[in-house]
């Protein structure tokens, strides 16, 4: 049983996003492994530790050179080796899935763990698109996962509430908060990770090209009124607020 766990590098949640020209510029911004992907690596490790017969955990990133740092973090957490398809080109999620699906085949992967939604492009498409290319089922927004032989069971969120599921490998699972509590890499493991294999692949060999053109980006901040009332006298403050909502904003009756 082999697991492919996808790694994306995104700006730290608190980092300020800057534009340069008509695109986001991450130069000088603190970037980290997407939190969603930490759940993926952690879940792969837990499946292995639960005795599910995991032979190998491979971390995959597609993107610029700096992605190496995120892959090293995955290796330090415990992934066995990494593949980096290096490119500065921005690919939409459906085009990216071409790369992931091909790699899953050459790596003979049984389970792909993908983040439920990235914190940069805010897409939710890569897992489903990859599953479709491979002809596999997908389980999205998973918050509980067990593996017994090739039988997957667990629970995942749906539009309204959640469902328990059963499916067989091979499959794509998308992760989310609540699935687990990711471990921090220890210093010895960080040292060990430096010696683990990090293979570089050329995007051109996968023949994937973006089908979506990214034309422009804007930071739109809505000017807010910022009328903040001191609540020392709760009754007076409440009356004033309700009056503003009724008569100034006219949003309540």
């Amino acid at each position: 049983m082999k697991i492919l766990t996808l790694i994306r590098q995104v700006p730290d949640a608190e980092a300020r996003v800057r534009l340069s020209g008509n695109a986001v510029d991450l130069d000088g911004t603190t970037v980290v492994m997407d939190g969603m992907d930490e759940y993926g690596v952690e879940e792969a490790l837990r499946l292995r530790e639960s005795g599910a017969g995991v032979e190998e955990i491979v971390a995959l990133a597609i993107g610029p050179k700096r992605n190496e740092d995120a892959l090293r973090t995955a290796l330090a957490m415990g992934a066995d080796r990494a593949v980096h398809v290096e490119t500065d080109e921005r690919l939409d999620a459906v085009s990216l899935s071409q790369v992931v699906a091909q790699l899953a085949q050459t790596e003979q992967t049984d389970l792909i763990l993908v983040g439920g939604q990235e914190a940069d492009w805010d897409s939710q498409a890569l897992g489903a698109a990859t599953a479709e290319r491979l002809g596999w089922p997908q389980l999205t927004w998973t918050n509980e996962l067990k593996l017994d032989g090739d039988k997957l069971t667990g629970r995942h969120d749906v539009d309204e509430g959640n469902e328990s599921f059963e499916a067989s490998l091979p499959a794509v699972v998308t992760t989310q908060q609540g699935l687990n509590e990711p471990r921090y890499p220890t210093l010895p493991n960080i040292m060990k990770a430096k010696k683990k294999e990090l293979r570089k692949d050329d995007l051109a060999t996968y023949g994937a090209q973006s089908r979506v053109k990214f034309v422009g980006a804007e930071i739109q901040t809505r000017a807010r009124l910022n009328k903040i009332i001191d609540g020392k006298d709760p009754q007076a403050a409440a009356a004033q607020l309700i009056d503003l909502l009724r008569n100034e904003a006219k949003v309540i009756k």
């Binding site: 599953a131 479709e132 539009d159 804007e218």
Partner: protein, 316 residues
């Protein structure tokens, strides 16, 4: 044609479907605006859809009794191919965004995800969407004989009924067997106004204190205002409120006329789900809480003191 896959809930057409009809008309692309209704016993939904669409295709079968990503994708792709659709629009709900990428792969089409605007541009489509936790608005473009789009709920006006209802046609589909079996369901539907459709939302955060206090503060205030109830992730994780009420990156995206946040700190992941609300109102005892930076109105004070006063003042 422009193909829209209907969203509905509890036998009623969802507002998101009316929004998709508006999105379709805004493209200015030719061909009938066609709504596809997938499900079982969906005659009522189809009739509601016919009021706004040029035509409605109805696939009513036991195989479609419950939503499944693979079945829905196969159905949408099949109809898109047979009807030579140049645009396929799917709802930006969690399930819509789960099967839409599959439709795009099946049709070998580009996919514009979670768009907030849509217009025709030559042989293709141009759209805007939010990225970086809704801090950036991006413009994207795709070309091709067929393009798949998902439309962010709440971003387009609801289409008004047309003078003439559209024709309805029954369609037969060849559907794959689902390979995921559902062994248990835990429906957490808020009994109140659906968040995506609410004009006012009252959201409680960890500052509300506990689950009982939601009944004491959040719900009565929401009742007085005719509002929906929302919750932060912290509150949902603590088990105080159902996940269906969660607003934010991993919850729902909402854009009401007024969003009233009680004891909510205003983390970026929460803001990404409600930051586009028309008016934002915050009650928080910490004057430095980030929520005040995006608030139009606010009171610095304790939920336990301020909210009972608000409940009183909002009675009419």
């Amino acid at each position: 044609m422009i193909l829209i896959v209907a969203e509905y809930s509890g036998g009623k057409l969802a507002k998101s479907t009316l929004e998709m009809v508006t999105a379709a008309r805004q493209t200015g692309r030719e061909g009938p605006v066609t709504v596809l209704v997938l499900g079982q016993n969906v005659a009522g939904v189809a009739t509601e859809a016919a009021a706004v669409a040029d035509q409605v295709l109805v696939a009513d079968s036991a195989a479609l009794s419950t939503y499944n990503a693979e079945t829905w994708a196969a159905a949408a792709a099949q109809i898109a191919q047979e009807g030579e659709a140049h645009t396929v629009i799917v709802g930006g709900s969690r399930s819509g965004r789960e099967y839409a990428p599959r439709v795009a792969v099946k049709l070998d089409a580009p996919y514009l995800e979670d768009v907030i605007s849509l217009s025709g541009s030559g042989e293709g489509l141009q759209a805007q969407r939010y990225t970086y936790l809704a801090r950036v608005t991006e413009t994207v473009e795709a070309q091709g004989p067929v393009i798949v789009v998902s439309a962010k709920p709440g971003s387009f006006a609801a289409a008004a009924p047309a003078a003439q209802p559209g024709e309805q046609y029954d369609v037969d589909l060849e559907l794959p067997e689902s390979r995921v079996s559902v062994t248990g369901r835990n429906v957490e539907k808020s009994s109140r106004v659906a968040l995506a459709e609410a004009d006012i939302i009252v959201t409680g955060g960890r500052g509300v204190g506990n689950a009982e206090n939601f009944g004491k503060y959040v719900e009565p205030l929401a009742d007085n205002l005719g509002a929906g109830v929302g919750a932060t992730r912290a509150v949902v994780d603590a088990g105080w409120r159902p996940y269906a009420e969660q607003v934010g990156q991993t919850g729902k995206t909402v854009q009401p006329g007024a969003y009233i946040a009680l004891g909510v700190s205003g983390a970026v992941q929460h803001l990404s789900g409600m930051g586009k609300s028309k008016y934002i109102v915050a009650i928080n005892k910490d004057a430095e809480a980030p929520i005040f930076k995006v608030a139009d109105y606010g009171i610095v004070g304790d939920v336990n003191e301020i909210v009972p006063a608000l409940i009183e003042a909002s009675k009419r």
